[in-house]
């Protein structure tokens, strides 16, 4: 928030509310926009983006952008992200103008299809180039939707992560925990959409409502950036005198948080508390204390705000980002100087940990230099996908006599592996 509104806004009024635009991309995105529009979502401009005319026609969004060329003959992308991307690139200028004048752009979409996976990365880039911060809220398809959609979704997610400031990602598969045997398909999709909408609403409130303890948008982005596994989120509400306790109980029992396990595993947690006027400091404190206990290892960012429309309800939104595997591959089109250093630094640090037997270091200096030079002096912003090779669990280091015993893990380090290997001391 401080980035744009304070520097560019003409008035420089103290608590400038950032201009937020919410883009729904693809059929799923447009449907979710409608769901958003139902509630008290004043102050944000909603824009529907799709290739399919019929889905746009039924949308209640204020602005509709139909990306249409002769290429498609009015048939949509046909589930092919390449087509989606081609069209979006063609209409890049249109998208860019649509983003102009906003501080924050939310991109809401369901990945896996042609429009969602193809258009949203391009849209995110357009928004960035027009000077807005980009936060994407996406769903990943159900496993039963097939391999191809999964793959496309993963690709789209990688691309989106590369361009957006933050990505909140909900794998639909997780909602199976929320539904029972008899839930209809329609309801299931409504539930997943509802969850995502709830988190959009939570973040939006966080950014726009008068904050007692404010969360800067950069904090939010920093939290979501560089977490390469999915983030999970939950939004719960409670009323009554014991609402602080109740809210935490509900939170821990929330199916999306795996009975609180997700909290324990997460590397960073964002907590936003919203209450009516009488939101007490003691309550904020109690909730934070409890949540803190559940996620001891996480970096916690918290914000509290007053929204009078909530009256006596207390609403808590939690976004927990799980630390993913450290990306080892250096993106082909990398980053500004600062973060390039970060990435290469990580490349070097990760080398000893890479479980190659250290007596013969895996990389010759020439190779390393080559990688470093490839990385420096390239374009701004991270783009491109990350290699998946790094995720393979290569157990080259046998643990010898401790192979079958219970591993000794201390702060995430397997102490059964020889110390000199973990510290990367070369014996030569």
């Amino acid at each position: 928030m401080k980035t744009k509104s304070q520097t560019s806004a003409a008035g420089l009024e103290p608590a400038a509310v950032p201009a937020v635009k919410i883009f729904g991309v693809g059929s799923t995105g447009v449907a979710m926009l409608d769901a958003l529009n139902d509630g008290d979502f004043a102050g944000a401009a909603l824009v529907a983006v799709n290739t399919d005319a019929s889905s746009l026609a039924s949308s209640s969004a204020a602005v509709k952008i139909q990306l249409e060329t002769k290429l498609l003959r009015g048939l949509g992308t046909g589930g092919d992200p390449e087509r989606g991307r081609a069209i979006a690139e063609e209409q890049f200028a249109t998208l860019k103008t649509a983003c102009e004048g906003t501080d924050v752009v939310f991109v809401i979409t369901g990945l896996g299809g042609g429009a969602g996976s193809g258009i949203s990365p391009v849209l995110a880039r357009a928004a960035r180039e027009s000077g807005a911060l980009v936060l994407a809220f996406v769903t990943l398809p159900f496993v039963c939707e097939g391999n191809r959609r999964q793959q496309q979704a993963q690709q789209g997610l990688d691309q989106l992560k590369a361009v957006a400031d933050g990505v909140v990602c909900l794998p639909c598969q997780k909602t199976f925990k929320l539904i029972d045997e008899n839930t209809s398909v329609l309801d299931t999709f409504r539930i997943t959409d509802g969850l995502l909408v709830e988190s959009v609403r939570g973040v939006w409130r966080l950014l726009t409502r008068k904050g007692l303890i404010r969360i800067h948008f950069d904090d939010l982005c920093a939290l979501l950036r560089d977490r390469h596994a999915e983030s999970v989120f939950a939004c719960v509400e409670a009323t009554g005198p014991a609402r602080a306790r109740e809210v935490v109980e509900k939170l821990v029992a929330h199916p999306l948080l795996d009975e609180g396990r997700a909290l324990a595993e997460s590397g960073a947690v964002l907590v936003s508390l919203m209450g009516g006027k009488e939101l007490a400091m003691a309550e904020v404190n109690r909730v934070m204390e409890q949540i803190g206990r559940h996620c001891e290892h996480a970096q916690i960012i918290m914000g509290a705000a007053v929204d009078e429309s909530l009256k006596n309800r207390l609403s808590v939104t939690v976004i927990a980002a799980r630390p993913g595997p450290v990306p080892m591959e250096l993106p082909p089109l990398a980053t500004t100087g600062d973060s390039a250093e970060q990435v290469t630094g990580r490349g070097i640090v990760a080398r000893p940990g890479s479980r190659c037997a250290p007596p013969t270091p895996g990389l010759t200096p020439e190779q390393r230099d080559q990688i470093l030079t490839r990385n420096v002096g390239s374009r701004a912003r991270k783009t491109g996908s990350r290699m998946r090779q790094t995720q393979l669990a290569l157990a080259i280091v046998s643990k010898g006599r401790f192979d079958k015993s219970e591993p000794t893990i201390h702060k995430g380090e397997d102490l059964d592996i020889p110390t000199y290997i973990r510290r990367g001391v070369a014996l030569n």
Binding site: K399, P418, T419, L427
Partner: protein, 407 residues
Amino acid sequence: MFDDSSIIVGLEIGTSKVCAVVGERTADDSLNIIGLGQARSRGVRKGEIVDPAQAEEDVRNAIVEAEQMADVEIRNVYLGVTGAHIRGFNNRGVHPVVSADREITEDDVQDVVKNAKAINLPTENNVVHAIRQHFFVDGQAGITNPVGMLGSRLEVDVHVVHGITNRLQNAIRLVKGLQLEVDDIVFSGLASSLALLSSEQKELGALVIDVGGGTTDYVVYTDGVIRHTGVLAIGGDHVSNDLAYGLKVPLSRAEKLKLEHGSALVDKECKGQTITITNELGLPLKTINVEHLRRIMSLRLEEIFQLVAQDLEQAGLYDYLRAGVFLSGGCARVPQIAPLAEQVMQMPVSLGRTNSISGLKSALDQPEFISAIGLVKFGSFKSRKREGKPSLAQGIKGVLGRFLQRS
């Protein structure tokens, strides 16, 4: 044959060896070690039993050897336990003094200790020790015995050591299967500290690190009471395993190399030195660089001390250790280990020596027997306490015994 009640046996089922120490309480209430039995342990990893059948055999061998040496029959043992599942923490109990004259009685003390022991542990966990620290009377700190004082509110800090019941039971069941009674289970780290520290050292503040085969147990005393305990599931086994991996030799060979050429510090002389391993016919198999050997060892041992130091720093106890650090366990034999520990901990480190115990020189001087000797010492404290207040069962036994003698 000795009088049965004066014989105390400590049994430790360790990762590298099983060891039984027989002690005898003499008439002047000092402790004399009279027997020692040991056997190579094959059924234990990281301080916990993984192969009960093998472990049982090893325990039997050790007990038989100790029985022969001390010429006694062993019926009861104090059993040492360790393992990564064992944790320690401090807890406080509160008790209001309700009597009219506000004088604190023995009952009040019992109650407050009971309150302090009532801890919310997961159901699968069991308390191994709840050790009193200091009492508070109406907030006044540092009281060691409040009986007879006046006050309205009595509090006590206890240090609780707990572990997972099933894993503790494994060892107990094994010993019971050999027709031996387990008098009590004792955390090995605590036992080592009992054998090593004098009460003056406990008062000053001391850290005992027992680096054994499979685990490293450590105990911190300040102001004469136990303040902190911990277990790391790393030990000499890891050193051997690292060597086997790093030098590409079999584990048994790595073990031998560790004993013959190991050192905790990499000194200048070893640079370029090599050892040639020969097979049974005397033909050279492999040459090994001594510097590599020591570097691998040094890093592992250094890490152990670093982890302990980190834990103490977190507990905020680092500045209270005025008597320094005492090492015990098999790894305390590694040459230069004290200087290495000194480097890491930045305080005086010495190899521990058992105190106020007499007897077998061969047992008392070995660092690896310290915790088993400590078990005997624990037993002697226990039985001395019991004698002070004979329990009902013992009372009856005593009466019956006298009756039988007379008839």
